[in-house]
């Protein structure tokens, strides 16, 4: 079995007085693609942000290589973990290249000027995501899919081993959904990046993720391979609607539908 990349231990996260996450414990394995699934307000995004070190657990810990994320300096953490938010508004219209260069922030000096190496890494990340041709365009001029790829390039420029994505397919049509997930899958296969993402679409999750984690009301309901987690019983309970699951004859992957 692969070694652990990130270890979530007795994680509890409280917002005002409500428990958003309640005593979660699991490991993310190195080199896997893990999808976090669950209904709205189940705590998926909150969990992801705790795993990114952007939110601090109310109690419990998130460990990376045995070190608590909250004890790591921000810069050091940013070299190990990259986070792609669901959407990002910027008040100033930075160009695609300027945006991706910001991914080098954990490596630049006091005055923030990028070195030739930073530029080379930026270019490489943009070429990998097919965004180099967009480099001089402002973010506001880009389509949703293009923008998502630019933000992914910024995360690649961070050279982190762990990539966390919050709803990378939201607001995208099916072609761009496939495009961004194919990109994640090939980065995972070629570079051994560990990928954790929240997803709404159970079928896409089954198609791309190695393991799925089902959340309901801030608790882990099930963690495992798609075929064993996406059962009619489990997902009907998690989403509180009757669901039907069909297995693809060739791949054995489960597809699920709500029942009218």
């Amino acid at each position: 079995m692969n070694p652990s990349c990130l270890s979530v231990q007795n994680l509890r996260f409280r917002y005002v007085r409500d428990d958003v996450l309640n005593d979660l414990a699991f490991d993310v394995r190195s080199g896997e693609i893990l999808a976090l699934l669950g209904p709205n307000a189940s705590g998926k995004t909150t969990l992801l942000k705790n795993m990114a070190g952007l939110l601090h657990p109310s109690s419990g810990r998130v460990l990376m290589n045995g070190i608590d994320l909250t004890d790591r300096p921000h810069r050091e953490r940013a070299r190990a973990i990259a986070f792609v938010p669901q959407s990002e508004d910027t008040f100033l219209d930075f160009s695609a290249e300027q945006t991706v260069l910001m991914g080098r922030a954990p490596y630049v000096g006091t005055w923030g000027f990028e070195s030739a190496e930073d530029r080379a890494k930026t270019r490489e990340a943009m070429e990998r995501t097919d965004t180099w041709i967009l480099r001089e365009r402002g973010l506001s001029e880009l389509s949703g899919g293009e923008r998502q790829r630019v933000i992914l390039a910024r995360a690649l420029a961070q050279e982190a081993k762990l990539l966390l994505l919050d709803e990378p397919t939201s607001h995208l049509d099916v072609r761009y959904q496939k495009e961004i997930l194919d990109l994640c899958a090939s980065l995972n296969a070629e570079r051994g990046l560990t990928v954790v993402m929240t997803l709404h679409d159970l079928n896409l999750a089954a198609l791309y993720a190695h393991r799925l984690l089902l959340l309901k009301e801030g608790k882990v309901v099930r963690l495992g391979f798609p075929a064993e987690t996406l059962t009619e019983e489990t997902i009907s309970e998690v989403f509180s609607v009757p669901m039907k699951v069909v297995k693809d004859e060739k791949s054995g992957l489960p597809s699920s539908f709500p029942i009218r």
Binding site: A52, L54, E88, F94, S95, Q98, T99, A105, F113, E136
Partner: protein, 331 residues
């Protein structure tokens, strides 16, 4: 917009500084009595030399330092608050500094103490506006501006109370402070203020990279490896210090901090590492021009009077503000 290189940074700064110096020199020759432009310095009359050293140059220098402080702090505020209409004047930061400096003057402090009094008051004003507009990690843009308007009215009331208690001569000084007026000051005072402004500018420029990250929101900034709160504090501190330094001498010069950042970003692009120093030089240049207009517009007419510089910047700036609101509303 191409990404920033050190070469581009240096070239843009040198160009803008040269422009500011040329404008400063030209402006100090213009006035009620024109000084000779094409004559060698050694051929100047002692009287002309005296006007240059004792009256024109200090005033131009004060305009430059004030423009630098307002332009660069305005750029930093707009970036940090993600609001294209934010500036120290509208947010009440300048009024805070005005109240602080009037209190300082009233307590009979030596001048060296006044900028720090003004700084404390402007920082307090800034934090009050910021805390009020902050909801769940997000700044509500309209609340921010409205809070600034209300705070301005509130601080003005205090200043008017002090004005009522003051002697005629002191009251005159307070009114000048409220309108925004550049007077000939001693080199010592200008030097002190310039030192504070230079220090603030260095800090803000060093914070430029962090400000770039913060324009995508605190969460993204954090994920890219910086602590948003630490950088916000530094920017608030440095920007309030600069405003606190210039207000005791220049008073409430409005709108420079609002439109100079837009011109700077139009010249340099959105990158704060360059737009902040650029806004300092452009602010200096424009405030020198505005003050020269204020000194000369009505002097040659039948009225024989000078305008306060705050009137000129408002005449230019207010229409600009309205245009910006209209443009923002459409997009």
């Amino acid at each position: 917009m191409k990404s920033l290189t050190i070469k581009k940074w240096l070239a843009t700064n040198v160009l803008l500084v040269v422009l500011a110096v040329l404008v400063a020199f030209a402006a100090s020759l213009v006035g009620e009595k024109s000084l000779p432009f094409f004559t060698r310095w050694s051929a100047w009359s002692p009287e002309d030399k005296d006007i240059f050293w004792a009256s024109r140059l200090p005033r131009v220098l004060l305009a430059a330092v004030t423009g630098m402080a307002l332009g660069s702090s305005g750029t930093a505020f707009q970036g940090l608050l993600q609001n294209a209409l934010a500036d120290p004047y509208i947010l009440g930061v300048s009024s805070g500094a005005a109240l602080g400096s009037i209190l300082g003057y009233a307590l009979g402090l030596p001048f060296a103490g006044i900028p720090f009094f003004a700084f404390a008051a402007s920082l307090a004003a800034m934090l009050l506006v910021y805390r009020t507009a902050m909801r769940g990690g997000q700044i509500a843009p309209h609340t921010l501006l409205l809070t600034g308007v209300i705070l301005n009215a509130f601080l003005f009331a205090f200043i008017l109370i002090l004005n009522g208690l003051a002697s005629f001569e002191q009251a005159q000084k307070i009114i000048f402070l409220l309108i925004g007026n550049l007077e000939t000051e001693t080199y010592g005072r200008i030097g002190l203020v310039a030192g504070i402004v230079a220090a603030g500018l260095i800090v803000l420029t060093a914070e430029g990279h962090a400000l770039n990250l913060l324009t995508s929101g605190p969460e993204t900034a954090r994920s890219l490896g910086i602590d948003p709160n630490r950088h916000r504090k530094r920017v608030f501190f440095a920007a309030s210090l600069m405003v606190g330094a210039v207000v005791p001498l220049a008073g409430l010069v409005g709108f420079i901090g609002l439109f100079v950042p837009h011109i700077a970003r139009w010249v340099t692009g959105p990158d704060h590492r360059l737009s902040i120093p650029a806004a300092a030089w452009i602010g200096a240049t424009l405030l020198i021009v505005c003050d020269t207009l204020a000194r000369t517009l009505l002097v040659s007419s039948a009225f024989q009077t000078e305008l306060p510089v705050g009137a000129v910047t408002a005449l230019v700036g207010a229409p600009f503000f309205l245009l910006l609101m209209k443009k923002r509303g459409r997009s």
